[in-house]
């Protein structure tokens, strides 16, 4: 099977939502012509139960506004819907969303009009009250949600009900791309009074039962607002503790879809005629974090030297078997303004690294010895630190990296290595540039960048408030320059992910998306079985 990479063009476009420059696609999917034909298949017969396998356990979460692992994403998408969604160019649109229209009236005001006739799974209608209650929950610091970045722009008082189907968002700080914020999949709308325990959403399938560590059962909801696009009778999301067992179950035809299949199994899966694999890249990234306020990383020579140590191509090969794109220490791959300064690709340059280190007094006689940690629950990070430690050996003893794997519970805990030490690792899913800046500055200040005296934060606010695309790009370019020259992240690559399907699953769309299975088919719409 010949592989063709489908890249959609990287042009920024205006979309129907007024005056906002959007993120453009630099992501892609990988498929062959045969796959294209299958993927473009039109859904057919109604009925049937779709069995989806995902790696999960008793720890799984089920919350409209909070996720940790892929199983949690699957369950969120199965039951709840957001106001807006992202299309394949990461432009916010109303398709599959609860909004009939969404308008950015000004950098500080957004008006959303809800669709008529949308019902929750218990039969009650969706109203503006539910939307406001959801966002209040997101803004509430006492609730465990992903709402922290919202607080930079919104206060509960800024949520105004214009009528039963119209909500006004009055922002306290300008954000010209607030519509993208509304398309965040964890900002899904739950009923007013949602306690995180009774899962009642607006999606195509209502939750029948959920047994943590085993499976959740979802039944077609007959009152669904877009019922004409729903074909299945029932969906089961089944947990697997072991990813090999997951793949085996698919091969043995016990499940129809396997979410997030390991690279090592791609060839085996593709060799089976009754299976298809769709690989997706959407700007997710793994990174090394250097805290710019902790020795020795408070010295920019050291930081830039570390960045030059990395043989990125080899790291991509070792860690992901090549399934990804090489990174250049900048995030926001899916953003139109990614690498606005067109920096050439950084490569491993040991002499340059040694020269920088020499300036700071490091040599074979006085080596730079650092500890680098990764949690044992994220496979890629473990391989990354081992690879870097190995690659550092090329400095012939000037840089010595002590790679340590720490158990997940300790690593991510409040006093763990994550965010509390000088050199460690992290993972992110794809975001637009400014959204990531917000996350990396405020929610998870992993590198404690920017340093005091920098204009970075002011630039961020300015860029968020600038509607003019050109001006924005210029500000972003300035910000990226600072990060490129002085930042604390080493971003070796952007990682892909893939799902495998039985060929009797129809209606699957192969296009770039942040989540597996094309945002879990927005709640398993458009999918049918044979």
């Amino acid at each position: 099977m010949d592989q063709q990479e489908i890249e959609t063009s990287g042009l920024s476009r205006r979309h129907f939502i007024q005056g906002v420059s959007s993120a453009a696609l630099a992501a892609g999917i990988f498929s062959s012509s045969a796959l294209n034909a299958w993927a473009a298949s039109v859904p057919g017969k109604k009925g049937g139960t779709l069995k989806i396998g995902v790696v999960g356990g008793a720890n799984d979460l089920f919350d409209a506004n909070y996720i940790v692992a892929k199983a949690d994403q699957a369950r969120l998408m199965s039951t709840f819907e957001t106001l807006l969604t992202f299309d394949q160019n990461f432009v916010p649109v109303t398709k599959d969303g609860l909004a009939e229209s969404a308008k950015q009236n000004s950098p500080t005001k957004v008006t959303v009009k809800l669709r008529k006739g949308v019902k929750f799974h218990d039969g009650t209608p969706l109203t503006a009250d539910d939307v406001i209650a959801t966002f209040k929950r997101l803004l509430d610091p006492a609730q465990k949600t992903t709402g922290k970045p919202l607080r930079t722009f919104l206060d509960p008082s800024g949520l105004v009900k214009r009528d039963s189907l119209t909500v006004e968002f009055n922002l306290k700080a300008p954000n010209v791309d607030f519509l993208s914020v509304l398309a965040n999949y964890t900002y899904a709308i739950a009923k007013a009074g949602y306690d995180g325990k009774t899962q009642i959403g607006t999606s195509a399938f209502s939750l029948v039962s959920y047994t943590p560590g085993r499976e959740s059962v979802h039944k077609r909801f007959n009152g669904y607002w877009d019922a004409k696009n729903v074909y299945l009778d029932e969906v089961r999301i089944i947990d697997f503790a072991d990813k090999t067992a997951l793949v085996n179950a698919l091969i043995a035809k016990q499940i129809d879809v396997a979410i997030d299949v390991p690279f090592e199994q791609y060839k085996t899966l593709k060799a089976k005629k009754y299976l298809n694999v769709i690989e997706n890249s959407a700007g997710a990234w793994l990174a090394f974090c250097m805290r710019i306020d902790i020795k020795p990383f408070d010295d920019n020579n050291v930081r830039q030297a570390m960045r030059l140590l990395v043989d990125r191509k080899q790291m991509l090969n070792r860690v992901l078997s090549g399934h990804g794109k090489i990174g250049n220490d900048l995030y926001g791959y899916i953003d139109a303004n990614y690498n606005a300064n067109s920096y050439p690709q950084r490569k491993q340059d040991i002499p340059a690294a040694l020269a920088l280190l020499k300036k700071s007094g490091y040599s074979k006689a006085n080596p730079l010895r650092v500890e680098l940690t990764a949690p044992d629950d994220t496979g890629g990070l473990v391989l990354m630190i081992q690879t870097l430690a190995e690659q550092a050996k090329k400095t012939d003893g000037v840089v010595i990296i002590d790679a340590k794997v720490i158990d997940g519970g300790t690593y991510w805990s409040a006093k763990g290595q994550y965010m509390n030490t000088g050199f460690y690792t992290t993972y992110w899913s794809g975001r637009t540039y400014l959204a990531q800046v917000a996350a990396s500055m405020d929610i998870y200040p992993e590198t404690k960048f920017p340093p005091a005296g920098s204009s970075f934060r002011a630039d961020y606010l300015a860029a968020s408030g600038t509607a003019n695309a050109k001006k924005r790009r210029a500000i972003v370019a300035k910000m990226q320059k600072e990060e490129f020259d002085k930042g604390g992240y080493i971003i070796p690559f952007f990682n892909n992910f893939a799902d495998a399907y039985s060929s009797k699953v129809k209606g699957v769309v192969a296009r770039p998306s942040q989540l597996n299975m094309d945002y879990y088919a927005h709640g398993f719409k458009y999918i049918s079985l044979a």
């Binding site: 008793a58 465990k144 943590p212 089944i238 503790a241 072991d242 043995a252 805990s413 409040a414």
Partner: protein, 321 residues
Amino acid sequence: MKKSIFKFVVKRVALGLLTLFIVSILIFAVTQALPADPAEAILGREATPEALAALRADFGLDKPIVVQYTDWLFGIFQGDLGTSYATSTSVSEYIGPRVGASFFLLLIAAVGSIPLSIVIGANAALRRDRKFDTTSSLVSLILAAMPEFVVGTILTIIFSTTIWQLLPAVTYLEVGAPPWSDMKGLILPVLTLLIAVTPYVARVMRAAMVEVLESDYVEMARLKGMDERTVLWRHAMPNAVGPAFQVIALNLAYLAGGVIIVERLFNFPGIGSALADAVRSRDLPVIQFLALTIAAVYVLTNLLADIGTVLVTPRLRTRLK
């Protein structure tokens, strides 16, 4: 004689309970010696100080250890097994159906492996150094050499995914369905358990039988002119049963351990996979309860084996007087 046997049994049972009590203290002590705070492990990346404090209060983690222990122990007697940290449901709700499932799996495996290992072991001893013995010896050595997950993986490749596609690769039990609702899906896990346990037990059985067959009293019986069959059944077997009992107990014990691996491999919804999961997420109430349960099963089987051995070995019975 009966009175002394009765006394012995009572004493053994009492000792068993004492053992269990000590075990419960040990389990509790070890699991509370965590380096990582369970509250933080649960809340993960998003933990705020308020959320942590609330969680600790919820789970009673702020009480002194002895109080926590007694609360836990008395709770179990009242049927309150605690609340799982991971699922936030009661442990009994989470584990209940799984206990039945694992028990069923173990039952089928035991029903297969015990007779199989005794028969293979005895036969090998009887025909020692002949073809059956050498072949079965070699095969059981090779099989015993492989960890269960390797055996399971190979079986899956042969029968389910790569060479033939005859059997299911995982066990799928719908929530609420009884464990026998997917018998086909049980074949590979049971087979894996059988292969994991039988070779070991067969070899020990064989060794015990050989010692008996070549021992003085059996020789005496032969010299006295008895035919081989009588020698075997009347003199050899009764004395081989004693060690065999011990070995059966260990067999069941080994199965219980193998279950942890096999369940995870085949995605079987039992206590083995729950335990593996709980250990990874530091779900203390679940770990404590399951460890205690498995220990209780062990103590029980050892108890039965001990009593059985004594009842069966004449010399030991006389010692009781």
